[in-house]
Structure formats: C-alpha cells, structure tokens
C-alpha cells in the first residue's frame, strides 16, 4: 500500500503490521520511525494513541498465552491416538446400504459360527460389533464406555448390544486380550468378560485374559475381579493367576503373587525375561501362526532374555537366530531351527 501514514484512518493504522509491531514488540528502528512520524504530524497523535490503545487492549482481551512445544506434542499425540482408534472402530453412522451390508455380514458370520458349533457361547447372547485380529497383528480398541482393550494376535472380541449408562457392560473374547476397564463411579455398573465357560466380572481394573486351545488364563494386574465358572467362583487380587480348562470344566491352576506374567505384548513388543526357549517358541507360534521344528531338542530348556516385535516376523526371526545361535530355515509357516 502506497498511501502515506498521515492519511491513515484508525482502522488502517490498527491493522498495519509495521504499526502493530511497534506497539507490541518495538525495535529501536521502529521507535525512531514512529517518533519522527509524530514529530512531523503532531495532529495525528490522538489517532496514533487510540490505535495503540486498541491494539494493546485487543491483544490483552484475546490473549490465551502461548502453548509450549512439549505441551503441543502431547496434545497432538492425543489427536493421533484418537484418530487411530477411530479408524479401528466401525463407522458410527453407516449409510443405509453399508448398514445393511454390516447386518448381513454379521448375520452371515454368526450363522457360520453357529454352524461350526464351537461358538455356543456367542449364540446365547447376540453381539453386534466384532473385532478380530490376524496372526502378527494386534489392536487397541476403545469401548463405548471409555475402557481400553488391547487385543492380541489371532483373537476376537465382540461387544454387547447396549452400552447405555447404568446397564451391564459385556464383551465376549476368544484368544487373548488385556483390559483397562473404566470404573463407573456413579452407577457402579459391572464389566463382564465372557470366555469359554468362564465369566470375569469387574468394577474397574487392569487384567489379562488368555484363551488358547482348551486353556483360559486370567491374570489380574490391578484392582479386583470376580471370576465365575459353571461350578466355581473366585475373587482375585492383584498378582493372582487362574487357569481354567474348558475340557476338564474346572479351574486347573491357581497362583498368587505372580510378578512375571507376560503382558508386554499389549505395548506391541514381547519381552521375555529369563524364559525358556520352549516358552518363547510357543508364544511366537501363537502370535504369528507359525510352527517350529527344532532339530536339536537340547536348546529348549535353556533360558534367555529377549525382546521381539508383535507384528514383524521378518524382524523376529533374525533376533531369534542370534539369540539361539542357530540358523532358521523358513518354509511358509514352517520354521526349521537347525
């Protein structure tokens, strides 16, 4: 703009960047410039003062302070995590066609499951939303009540129909999951996890449920839970581990004060601390859906400390090779340890 400053209106002056900088963040050059301007144009002094006042007061009125960079990073992380979770969640307001499609696919999958016959528990109470992970995959799911479920590889979680406040919260699990249950202080409603033959009742707590094959293991990390089978029930305190066999239809193992239960998978990395090679290999088989063939059985009982990723078999194998000091040959899902 080539208009000279002496012909500026209040509005033009107050929105002029050069003038604003002088008011808010003056440099010696700016001071000099505007001082000279005022000496040359004393009749402009009231207008200048008014504009100064306006800028300063607007600045004060609209001031919210500055957010520091660390805080911004934290805020943005929150955005990122929420976006990740949203993307895992089935669309909230599906279009009519999509809705129909989802209904049909749920109907189809339910029919299929019933057909298989191994899923009687699911049929007993129809569940709408289904989350499933493949081998080498794990997911973090936020439930409608705010609780977080971390679903391990090759696992399935389905949710009850209603999640309205004051109603019982219920999920069905196959595989392994780690729960961080949101406590409902006002209504005190229960959170129930149903696994083959076992139901775990919670108020607000963190625990791991694993159901592989005929065995179901519940490990309580924090809070308290009540475990119920057809015949038995048990109150668990932190550090308790209970194993149930669906074949024997009873609790087969009870341990207290367990400190080394491995729930590290929930953070995306499996950490083994002085675990036997046999244990490590069994876990890798579970998570990646692979099968090991060990040529030399003598290595199975040695114990070792190792960290492996949850979703990268290509990275896991070299780590394992180095730890075991053996080469591993891969033939599709068969892994041969020489």
């Amino acid at each position: 703009m080539n208009k000279p400053y002496y012909s500026y209106t209040l509005e033009e002056l107050a929105s002029d960047p050069y003038f604003k900088e002088w008011v808010l963040d003056p440099t010696p050059e700016l001071e000099q410039f505007w001082e000279e301007f005022l000496q040359k144009n004393p009749q402009k002094a009231p207008l200048v003062q008014e504009a100064q006042m306006l800028i300063r007061e607007l600045n004060r009125y609209f001031d919210v302070g500055e957010t520091n960079p660390q805080q911004l990073k934290v805020y943005f992380d929150e955005v990122r995590q929420r976006a990740d979770r949203e993307m895992l969640r089935p669309s909230k307001a599906p279009t009519p066609t999509a809705n129909l499609l989802i209904r049909w696919s749920i109907a189809a999958s339910i029919a299929l499951l019933i057909g298989i016959g191994a899923w009687v528990w699911l049929a007993s109470s129809p569940a709408r939303q289904l989350y499933a992970t493949e081998y080498g995959e794990w997911e973090e799911i936020q439930l409608p009540d705010g609780s977080i479920v971390k679903l391990n590889a090759d696992s399935e979680l389905s949710l009850a129909d209603t999640w309205e406040e004051g109603t019982e919260r219920k999920v069905w699990l196959k595989g392994e999951a780690y729960f961080e249950v949101q406590k409902m202080y006002e209504t005190g409603t229960k959170f129930i996890v149903v696994v083959e033959g076992v139901s775990v009742e919670v108020l607000g707590t963190s625990f791991n449920v694993m159901n592989r094959g005929e065995k179901t293991e519940v490990f309580l990390e924090e809070g308290s839970i009540r475990l119920e089978t057809a015949e038995e029930e048990a109150l668990m305190v932190p550090g308790d581990l209970i194993a149930y066999s669906s074949a024997a239809k009873q609790i087969v193992e009870k341990r207290t004060g367990v400190k080394d239960y491995n729930t590290t998978w929930k953070d995306g990395v499996l950490v083994f601390k002085e675990d036997t090679v046999a244990q490590i290999i069994r876990k890798i088989e579970e998570i990646y859906g692979v099968e090991f063939q060990i040529r030399d059985d003598s290595i199975l009982n040695s114990s070792t400390t190792i960290r492996i990723p949850m979703d990268e078999l290509d990275i896991t194998l070299p780590i394992l090779e180095r730890t075991l000091g053996r080469n591993i040959q891969r033939q599709d899902d068969l892994l041969i340890v020489e």
Binding site: L10, A14, N59, D63, V64, L72, F76, R80
Partner: protein
C-alpha cells in the same frame, strides 16, 4: 507441504485464540480443535487441496465450534462458565496495572466495551485487527459478503471509539505528555 503435525503445531494457538474470541470457554475450544484434527488425520486429503490454509482452518473451526456450542444445551453450565469468565477477566484486568491512571481507566473501559460487543462484532474485530485478515478473507470465513463484513467492523469500531472521541476534546499537549509514556 506441511505434515498434519506441523500444521497442528503452527496453528494450535491461533485457532485457540480465534475460538476464544467466539466462545469464551477455552476447554470447549480446545476440544473442538482436537476433534477437527482427528478428522484431518482420518481424511488427510482434505488438507492437501487447500489453497489458503489460514482461511480454511479458521473456517472449519468456526463451523465445528458452532455445532459444539449447540450441543452444550445445558444452560446452567453456560451460565456458570460465563460467571467464571467474568471473574477471571476482572482479576486479569486488575493484574495488569498500568502506570497511568487515565490509561488504566481507558483500558478498563475498552475491555468492558469489548465484552459488550455482539459476538459477531467481536469476532470480526479479532479477525481484522488481531489476525490482520483482509475483508475478502473474513467474508470467506464467515460466508457473508464483503460489504457485510465492512459494516460489522465499522459498527464494532464505533462502539469501541467513544473514548477516542472524548480524548480528542482534550488539549493536545496533555495527550502528548501521555504518549511519551509509551516511548
């Protein structure tokens, strides 16, 4: 091309301030910004096509804040927020004690006037003088014509200028003496 995180870090404070000029509830504004960026994370192509990022982001925030405010139906909450805001403002005015008594009086007066402006007027004042946006840009954000924006700015300034009129009647010398305080 900026990443979404860079956009976020560059614009967060500006958006917070803009939202605050519309609705004096920082928590609500913050939440609305978070929602907006969650949406951008899920629809990254939306930001890629944008020509004028300033205008686009302010416009998005304005729209979302509008619906967030509608959702806050509970009038009691609104009233409580307003009270809290008033208390906060009063004490911050007190905290900013300025050397000149006259100036302080003017300052308090202006702060009060700003609060008395209609929300629309306050918002355009913010966009025009704080954000230094052009009439064209403000018109786009608010989805009205340029002339409407012009009129709003004009009326808002008129409301903020009564003190200036009073000042003009004072002898020049006195004003000059006051001015020297700023240098």
């Amino acid at each position: 091309m900026l990443t979404i995180q860079e956009v976020y870090e560059q614009y967060y404070d500006r958006l917070l301030r803009y939202g605050y000029s519309i609705e004096r509830d920082l928590d609500l504004v913050h939440d609305t910004i978070q929602d907006l960026f969650v949406w951008f994370m899920m629809n990254p192509d939306k930001l890629e096509k944008v020509q004028n990022l300033d205008v686009y982001l302010l416009k998005c925030l304005r729209r979302n804040l509008g619906s967030a405010m509608k959702q806050m139906k509970n009038k009691e909450t609104r009233a409580a927020l307003y009270m809290r805001e008033e208390i906060r403002k009063t004490s911050s005015v007190e905290a900013h004690m300025i050397a000149s008594e006259q100036e302080q009086e003017d300052s308090t007066w202006l702060q009060a006037q700003l609060r008395r402006l209609s929300p629309d007027q306050r918002e355009v004042i913010f966009l025009r003088f704080y954000e230094n946006l052009s009439y064209d840009e403000i018109a786009e954000i608010r989805a009205v014509s340029k002339q409407v924006v012009r009129n709003m700015v004009f009326r808002a300034l008129k409301n903020l200028r009564r003190i200036g009129k009073k000042k003009n009647q004072q002898p020049l010398k006195e004003i000059y003496g006051l001015l020297s305080l700023f240098f």
